[in-house]
Symmetry: C3
Subunit: 338 residues, 3 copies
């Protein structure tokens, strides 16, 4: 029913202190963990829950002294906890095979170990890799490649020519390969510029729900490896996102902009087109980025400024009404006749 | 063909002044209402249309003197109008039963009075309540419960373990129960933190189109009763939204944040994670909330401030370029040698 | 395999300088174009690529002197390039007819030249025009009209009563005709106001992916002709958008607001309800519009101000912390006793 604590400790590579033969049935945050559950403390501010928790075991960093219940010591408790979740909540085994109610082109290749659910459409020239799980109601157009180990959730639409690497998770409702927003104005109208590029997504990425990732106008829109994208994110045509970057919900990235590696864009950030954000740079929530940003920086605000500068302006703003009054007073003192 | 005015008056509980035997065929705003139509005035600024309207009848509060056409007097004319719309535009009767082109697990329970449309998928362990209308192309995973009277519009995706109360309306394209955005960084990578919680939605809620409501990381993401959510709203893992709260389009609520009852978030508001918004508090459009907000307040801006303070800063901002000039002038007067 | 340059020149109406009998196989941006490809220069800053490009031909305005490779001279090179893309990348011929796995009501009318894909649902009273391509997994409710030449991408949901003009493209995941966000508060609750209007879309429009366009509360939500809407845009009930307007990604337009012709709203702009934006007015990215805007203006910021004024405030803001220090200094000089 559960998993022995000693096995969980082994999975994390951590050091077990206390009884290893107890059974762990599930996991919970420390504030609510009860009998049979494992929990963790990474943030010191949750340390005080240790005294009262009813958890069966806890993952702790070395510097928190505690031994009332069994402890797994680990340098990165949250990461260890994530590894344990995989043990406690394994994926259901999904039977391989193509559902009778799927519509798979005779000119598509589906690996024998892949699962293709009811109502799925797969067009000609497409290839679905080993162990993939293509859930019901997914649409996959022509000449699409989904690498081994992919999970495509219900209702995803992947349009012609998209190339997806290995172990990529795509959540429901997301659209990959829609036309970019390209129009040529001319006297008398607006002409659609045919979007003949495609989308390339690297390996080990996760794309949230109801996102939109447009195909390139010419050439690819390119998402690197290990990129994590939250829900409702817009990625325009010919954008490039570097490896290990993190894009939080409702961000919009305009056409041809390029993010380096390890970039973090917080929620609702907007980037204008044709700009570059350097490796490792972080942009705070709701910021608006209108120019190139250097690597390893922190930026905030709309328009985005260096974080320290943005914070100073922000603090000064709160005093602006008072400043107006002070200047008025000064004017009276200096020019009393007026 | 129509409905008698006296019956409509009765439905609202209002007082009918004038002929009740006329037939009302439809409803319209007062600016465009014509013969056979009923209309209303709630906002005094529309009062002047009363003199010229061709409407057959009008709903009015007690304090507007008018009797040229039949009047239903009601303390809350817009609410009365809403009740009358239900009479004039009843739902089409939807035949109960499961469409032959639906795929319903043998281990799912669908009430005999429910309708399940073509191309619907319902997984094992799920239960669909009395009178539900599950429209075509809906995906419902495993162990999902939809309470009686629910309407799930085409193309909705409801993932495993979601619990929905009674009389809930979910609009097209919305995703409920997608994985939360949880990752544990470690040297050498970013590890996905398995999201093993679920989503709970109370009764009498309405969820707009193309929203995303993530499952809890551990435990539920929880939406109370009578909550109204507009389109393209993002609700992250373990968020809690109190009863009667109203969330306008394109709002994003980050993980583990908690809204009290009767909270109103206007369009495009963003909330950071792990914060609380007190009962009855209102946050203005495009605001960014980075800290706890007390109950019954009004907040505005990014970062959000008390509305009155935000308004003062806003007004002062418009005078900031002028203020720079005034300070320069003062400096010349005070330190003329420079 | 390719298309002769002389034919491409003819299509654009431009003047060919150099050999017209070469074969063009594809198109590329000037920075990456290689043998067999055609490219263009519209922006002078790309002019320096001309010396080194391996392209087979280039479209240029009259004022750039260059003849190393064949040139098509055209007053609007980007527009000419768009025309050429249509020649080089023609649509695949789509066979007319209704897929056996589509569900089309016996009371719907589908033109013989239209294509209806697998898993499509079309309700009674709906009409699909000549040459339409209704891709797999599309939902079309009752009494919907799609004009001739329409392309509806996979996973689109078009709800009852929607009227779409000719040559309209609707991208995946978009929802048209969802209920508007209308509620009447009363003591003891929030009453849904039945949304009995519909959506009307003119001809030659393009609607991006995962957009939401709500039906009118009473009467239509109305999108004009030649309107281009990007991804993840929210259009609330009874909004009106004038001809040739351009709405960039993640914009939200609140209920009953009206845009004139040729309006441009940049990304992530929000408009409050019941306001008007005049013909030809442009609103910068992330702006928040809370009042009527005159025609032919440029506005920026949240709240939106005239662009020149917003720019002055923006510049002054950067100096605000310094201004605080300067005022403190003045105060010491003027009131040294303090």
């Amino acid at each position: 029913l559960g998993v022995r604590l000693e096995r969980l400790a082994r999975v994390t590579g951590g050091r077990l202190i206390g009884r290893g033969d107890i059974e762990i049935t599930s996991a919970a945050p420390i504030a609510s963990a009860t009998a049979g559950q494992i929990t963790f403390v990474a943030n010191p501010k949750y340390r005080n829950f240790l005294e009262t928790t009813a958890a069966a075991a806890v993952i702790l960093p070395d510097d928190i002294v505690f031994d009332r219940i069994p402890v797994i010591r680990h340098g990165n408790p949250y990461y260890a906890f994530a590894l344990i979740l995989d043990e406690l909540y394994p994926d259901d085994a999904v039977p391989a095979g193509i559902d009778a109610a799927a519509r798979v082109s005779g000119e598509a290749l589906v690996d024998k170990s892949a699962f293709v659910g009811a109502g799925v459409f797969i067009g000609r020239g497409s290839a679905i890799g080993a162990g993939c799980r293509i859930m019901p109601h997914v649409y996959i157009g022509r000449d699409v490649t989904i690498g081994a180990g992919g999970i495509v959730y219900p209702g995803v639409n992947i349009l012609d020519g998209t190339i997806v690497g290995e172990n990529v998770i795509i959540h429901s409702g997301t659209v990959i390969g829609s036309d970019g927003f390209g129009f040529a104005p001319y006297e008398g109208g607006i002409k659609k510029v045919r979007q003949v590029g495609h989308v390339e997504i690297g390996s080990n990425c996760e794309i949230g729900a109801n996102c939109t990732i447009d195909r390139g106008a010419l050439g690819p829109t390119r998402i690197g490896h290990h990129v994590k994208i939250d829900n409702l994110v817009q990625v325009a045509h010919n954008v490039e996102i570097g490896d290990y970057s993190i894009i939080v919900a409702q961000v919009g990235i305009s056409g041809s902009s390029k993010l380096g590696r390890n970039v973090i864009l917080a929620g609702q950030v907007g980037l204008t087109g044709h700009i570059e954000v350097g490796d490792g740079t972080r942009v705070g929530a709701q910021s608006g980025v209108h120019r190139n940003l250097p690597p390893s920086g922190e930026f905030l605000g709309s328009p985005a400024r260096e974080k320290s500068k943005a914070a100073r302006i922000e603090a000064a703003l709160a005093r602006l009404p008072e400043l107006l009054r002070r200047v008025r007073k000064l004017e009276k003192l200096v020019k009393p006749e007026k």
